[in-house]
């Protein structure tokens, strides 16, 4: 029976992640097969279309050179990664404007040595190398009648337009953010996922103010039906204008009335890549720097990319810290109100004396006092966003003096409530996701009211209601509270804590089942065994 329990909980080796849902799919053909190129251009085109299936950013530019016996050429490249000026200067212009075709006809050698002016040029005759080079951002040049092809460098350098993330900064890790240009955004993702498996599907939404949305996913990793479902929901939107990704979010999420959308918003390409590698999909926009990850869970929203860049001890520590911050941000003022107004016996006597002394001059009940302070704090936050950056200091000074000093000294608020609200504010700023930290501000209000009217019981009842709602919520089929409820023990390694990278062998069970295994299972590093390598004991002896 114990065996059964272990099995059910997914603790036994070989159960868990490989078990369900949907069982293991037949392995999708991922890498292009390594077969030779064909001599016929049309055959090659067909193979290209097959390899770069569902890549709407692939450009195939066909042209003809030579007057007496014209030859068809085909330039193939991924649009976001290639610089058009270079492409024109090195490849198209020399070939198309003034081709001095040698008497022997157009050969690869002629193209390579005399016609194409690019700095780097390589020759391939097999599909695997060819497709990978194109995915890397090079331009492929196919010639009709030749079973060899060239790749030419014409890299787009858009590093200067890219800025640092504003709302999701990390201290250690890449600091590139999306911007308002769809092509750059795609390039940022493509740069990190240089593979033919990355699908980029283009959908246009909005009749007047059009937004181009790229649906990104990894062809063999994404879970069943997700891309189709996203596209269906996007195509359903009939409206005159889309101005921000938040609008799209409201049109396509699963739970229209829920507090959380179940979709992640990010401006960090590395977050998108991590999501794609977990079997999820992403929507990248041409109008806004905020991309959408679909679906997300509470767990994945609580993670910061930094957790994976820091050492796992610290990564785990900061995750626990953030979960603590979430609870504090939601519950701290409510607990303060509940305990001081209903459950005074829970406070140690000395502290109770101090609290009473500081509250003696305050005319309001604790709940009203907390609400006033909460209101002031929310106002400060709102004003901080609206004000021009140069006035930022002013708000800080006004806030500190107004709230910290004068409110207390005039007896409008007690110092304790200022401490609690400050703690709450710091906590809500330390959450990694903008979506969560904004909703927390709203939820907190409800908890303060519940605490004011029914004390701890009210808080617990409301908390149960909130978890009921979150338990029921799904986003594109994925329960919002997984892996906690429904529980999958294997995924807990990457939830409240972060296990070392060499232990995270499997993708999240619910989204990554199409290809469960992330890495080999024997990656635990160890010092070289004595005798195996040159620097071992023998030499020392």
């Amino acid at each position: 029976m114990l065996n059964w329990l272990l099995n059910r909980l997914g603790l036994k080796k070989g159960s868990g992640a490989l078990r369900k849902p949907g069982a293991l799919r037949a392995r999708v053909k991922q890498d292009p097969e390594d077969r030779p190129l064909s001599k016929k251009l049309d055959d090659n085109k067909k193979v290209l279309a097959e390899i770069f299936d569902r890549c709407d950013d692939l450009v195939m530019r066909e042209f003809t050179i030579g007057k007496q016996n014209p030859v068809r050429l085909l330039a193939v490249f991924l649009d976001p990664l290639v610089d058009f000026t270079q492409l024109y200067n090195y490849l198209l212009n020399p070939l198309m404007s003034n081709p001095q075709v040698p008497p022997a006809g157009i050969t690869i050698a002629w193209l390579k040595e005399q016609a194409v002016q690019a700095g780097q040029i390589r020759e391939h005759d097999r599909w695997l190398a060819m497709a990978n080079e194109i995915a890397d951002g090079l331009v492929g040049l196919f010639v009709d009648g030749q079973n060899r092809a060239l790749v030419i460098t014409a890299f787009e350098d858009n590093s200067r337009q890219i800025e640092q993330p504003v709302s999701e900064s990390v201290s250690r890790g890449a600091s590139e953010a999306f911007n308002e240009d769809g092509r750059t955004n795609l390039a940022l993702v493509r740069k990190r996922l240089r593979t033919t498996r990355l699908a980029v599907e283009k959908v246009e939404v909005g009749a007047v103010a059009k937004a181009t949305i790229y649906v990104l996913y990894l062809k063999s990793y994404v879970y069943d039906g997700l891309p189709e479902e996203i596209k269906t929901r996007l195509k359903r939107i009939k409206t005159d204008g889309i101005l921000a990704s938040g609008q799209i979010e409201e049109y396509i999420n699963d739970s229209p009335w829920s507090l959380f959308s179940g979709l992640g918003v990010t401006e960090r390409p590395d977050r998108i890549v991590a999501a794609l590698l977990a079997g999820k999909a992403a929507l990248v926009f041409s109008i806004t720097p905020y991309a959408i990850i679909a679906p997300v869970t509470l767990n994945s929203e609580m993670q910061s990319p930094e957790d994976h860049y820091n050492r796992f001890w610290f990564g785990s520590f900061s995750r626990l810290l953030r979960w603590g911050a979430l609870l504090t941000a939601v519950l701290a003022p409510a607990f303060y109100v509940a305990i001081t107004s209903y459950h005074q016996e829970m406070i140690p006597t000395d502290l109770l004396m101090t609290l009473l002394a500081t509250r003696a001059a305050v005319p309001f009940p604790v709940m009203v006092e907390t609400l006033i302070m909460g209101f002031a704090f929310e106002l400060l936050q709102e004003a901080g966003i609206r004000l021009p950056k140069t006035f930022g200091q002013t708000i800080g000074v006004v806030g500190a003096i107004l709230i910290g000093q004068i409110a207390v000294s005039t007896g409008l608020a007690s110092p304790a409530v200022v401490v609690v609200m400050a703690l709450t504010a710091i906590s809500s700023y330390s959450l990694a996701s903008l979506d969560i930290s904004t909703m927390v501000r709203v939820i907190r209000l409800g908890f303060i009211l519940a605490a004011g009217f029914l004390g701890l019981f009210g808080v617990l009842a409301l908390f149960s209601m909130l978890t009921f709602q979150l338990c029921a919520q799904r986003s594109f089929g994925i329960p919002f509270l997984s892996p906690f409820a429904p529980l999958s023990l294997g995924d807990l390694k990457d939830s409240l804590i972060r296990a070392p990278a060499w232990l995270l062998n499997l993708r999240p069970r619910l989204t990554g089942y199409a290809e469960p295994q992330r890495q080999h299972s024997d990656l635990k590093p160890s010092p070289p065994k004595p005798g195996n390598s040159g620097d071992s004991g023998q030499e020392r002896g």
């Binding site: 029914l454 701890l456 617990l460 009842a461 009921f468 709602q469 409820a485």
Partner: protein, 369 residues
């Protein structure tokens, strides 16, 4: 089947555990100590578990014959239309009564220990509201909620028992079986109805996604529940002695209050309040859900959700009418209730199973693993 939710066998195990333990540990410990004296720890583990084992046998056999229907759904098929509907109505009434009892228990504790001046109906309405919301969202959601509550529960129980066992005096538990087996049996009877809640498999079976694992989950639950009550009574009587335990209103709450480690780790009763509210809300949601389903089956409705609000209102009113004081509630729970429970949990399902076998109703039982 009116709810399309799916639960796993582990979720079933957790649900069964919470439906028993959420209220038992606080409410029925004192009575067992009163009737069985120092042997209460034996009383709460022997007879109730035997009784529950029989129920598991009956109930799983019956549920397997109708794997895609809940109990109240196939009653008319087995015993005929009119008697079947009448029985389904009786079960609806029973679930409503049970939900009333649970809600009253929940409210009373909060009222007595924390909110003596808040009107009881207010607490009841809040409580019922939250649980009905859970029931409205469906069994899948309740099971998930329970998965969040469960670790908190287990952690708090273990913490309280372990910390309290510092003051355990083994002499309080002696002599074992001083007055023979009779007090043990009498004490055990008071606990039987709660251990017997394992009969809820009848209402939960169709939602299981691994149906052949129902009996394993039930047996594991019985093991867990038995050890919890055995260990719990052991510690309570060991710390307080049987006389004090019998006279405390909530011995477990008192136990948590009693803990004081170095004047630093104190006030653990907050844990009891937390697990009490969280656990009883889940338990109540399960009962509302079952009551709703049973009512919808009886009335032939297409959705059970419409029945939830009337049921909730009924329970809030009944709770005031039937059990105005905690004393009335306790008296009912330990005198009348075991008899009703015996009929509902064991006798009727056994009878239905017998009829189904004789009349050859229901599909072939699913083969065991």
């Amino acid at each position: 089947m009116l709810d399309n939710g799916r639960i796993s066998s582990v979720q079933l195990l957790f649900l069964l555990f919470i439906t028993e333990e959420a209220t038992t540990i606080l409410y029925s410990s004192g009575k067992a100590a009163e009737l069985a004296g120092p042997d209460a720890w034996l009383a709460t583990s022997l007879l109730p578990t035997l009784y529950a084992l029989v129920i598991v046998g009956v109930v799983v056999a019956l549920a397997r014959r109708f794997p895609s229907q809940v109990f109240t759904e196939y009653l008319p098929e087995v015993v005929g239309k009119i008697p079947g509907k009448l029985l389904a109505a009786a079960y609806t009434a029973f679930f409503i009564l049970l939900a009333t009892v649970i809600m009253t228990e929940g409210v009373n504790l909060i009222h007595i220990i924390d909110f003596p001046r808040t009107p009881v109906p207010v607490l009841g309405i809040v409580w019922a509201g939250v649980a009905v919301y859970g029931a409205y969202l469906g069994i899948e959601c309740i099971a998930r909620q329970n998965q969040l509550v469960w670790p908190v529960w287990l952690f708090s129980l273990l913490l309280i028992f372990l910390l309290a066992s510092k003051d355990l005096h083994i002499n309080n538990l002696k002599p074992v079986l001083e007055n023979g087996l009779l007090p043990v049996i009498r004490g055990g009877i008071t606990r039987c109805p709660w251990r017997g809640y394992v009969f809820f498999i009848l209402m939960l079976f169709p939602y299981l996604n691994q149906k052949q694992e129902a009996s394993q989950a039930a047996l594991l639950h019985l093991g867990l529940a038995t050890s919890t009550s055995l260990f719990g009574m052991f510690v309570m009587i060991g710390v307080f002695g049987d006389l004090v335990t019998a006279h405390l209103v909530f011995p477990f709450y008192a136990l948590a209050r009693y803990i004081s480690i170095g004047h630093f780790l104190e006030r653990l009763e907050i844990l009891v309040v937390i697990i009490w509210v969280a656990g009883v809300i889940v338990k109540l949601a399960v009962f509302y859900h079952s009551a709703g389903i049973a009512a919808a089956n009886t009335l032939g409705l297409k959705s059970y959700r419409a029945t939830l609000l009337p049921i909730a209102i009924t329970t809030v009113i009944l709770s005031r009418v039937l059990y105005g004081t905690n004393l009335k509630l306790v008296t009912f729970m330990f005198t009348t209730y075991p008899i009703i429970a015996l009929a509902v949990e064991l006798a009727v399902p056994a009878l239905i199973l017998l009829i189904a076998v004789i009349r050859k109703k229901g599909g072939k039982p699913i083969a065991d693993v």
